[in-house]
Symmetry: C2
Subunit: 259 residues, 2 copies
Amino acid sequence: MKEVNLNKHERLDDLLCNDMQIIQSAEVFSFSMDAVLLSHFCSVPTKGNIIDLCTGNGVIPLLLTARTKGNITGVEIQERLADMAHRSVELNQLQHQIRIDQGDIRHYHETCGYGQFDLVTVNPPYMRDSTGRQNINEYVAIARHEIRCTLEDVIAASSKCVKSGGKVAMVHRPSRIAEILMIMQQYRLAPKRIRFVHPHVHKEANMVLVEAISDGKPDVRLLPPLIVYEADHQYSEEIKRIYNENNMKVESCNEHEQQ
Amino acid sequence: MKEVNLNKHERLDDLLCNDMQIIQSAEVFSFSMDAVLLSHFCSVPTKGNIIDLCTGNGVIPLLLTARTKGNITGVEIQERLADMAHRSVELNQLQHQIRIDQGDIRHYHETCGYGQFDLVTVNPPYMRDSTGRQNINEYVAIARHEIRCTLEDVIAASSKCVKSGGKVAMVHRPSRIAEILMIMQQYRLAPKRIRFVHPHVHKEANMVLVEAISDGKPDVRLLPPLIVYEADHQYSEEIKRIYNENNMKVESCNEHEQQ
């Protein structure tokens, strides 16, 4: 593994997936369980081209290298996060497979062309710009709130990047599910697989995973609920299995991050 | 309880909710667990006006009398089913609370006027007209397939019947959820509460309950999964509780009916 230069407030975490490490920062960006579950949920082509929009510190491209030999592009609008992602890719010597671009997803198709990707993944800002922006810095605000791109921007960009018959996989909050499914269909993305994540089996969902196919027919499989905790406050067998498949310690991601 | 005239192939079942009985027919219509769960799921006003579209043999209006003193209208396009529903209402001496109208939901607002109902319930035909119509008679076909009304017709009719701020509650198949949420929003119905029903916790959902509010903002609560069976093939505690709250034997509805 290469040496790494860490900036102020940055730390190096073991991703514990293929012995990878990742640069994180509590002040700027650290990944959450959402990214891990999306990386596990999406239908990954063994070869081909993948793009991760709103890639943050590049956690999803890094995790996807354990599932595919395909080329992965990560796009992040914030220069400081894109730089963290870029250094994590170099640190793990994955430059041959992952490319990080600093840029605006709303215009990225002008760089890469329409319909170039077999899979688009995205863990976008969850919150409408007007809600709950107290006490967070600008880096965190942009990652969590629809300041630089709206839900419609994210879906429109996904639709432009994906090839016909390709997949778009997104993680988001269940409160937005009606909008997500409506806007996807407006952008010719047919939702095909949906999975809700519930903290406990008796609790409301706090996360949703959606996969759509470009130019398909809407015909949804509503997968079994993904339950995070059992009654005894231990992680469920499935969560343990997901993290084990990634060779990843459950503790290594910040699941309590309120994006 | 009054005497009842049963037609050929009809039988009288105990609804076991407030000692009610209901006329059913395996050849024409018998209610399923879907109707029971919708009656339990919907937010019922204690007073006011309720309409049940596609009412079939009137099971939902009958069950709702256990939850409200409000006036309930049931609309059914098939004369033979509307007649069964009408006779069940008389049998239970509920004519003061339930009115059954034989008619087409697509034009019912011309009879009742726009925006007259606090709650609209609907358990519509689930299947696109083109799929799987083998080996069933015309009564059953119309109840199960979009022959006389499409999903959009059902949502449009609900939107015309409900008053601003009123609720629309629907039970349907999860495979249609993307269309349902899109069309609801197109008809100014904001989905607010969604609950998926899974046969087992590790199985895909086979039913979905959706409640929308007229002229509201889309902001969905995704309720805990409703699990029908436990690992030991027994009904879950929640299903038993729902049927007990209705004073209803689980066996009295045909849960295996493939609508």
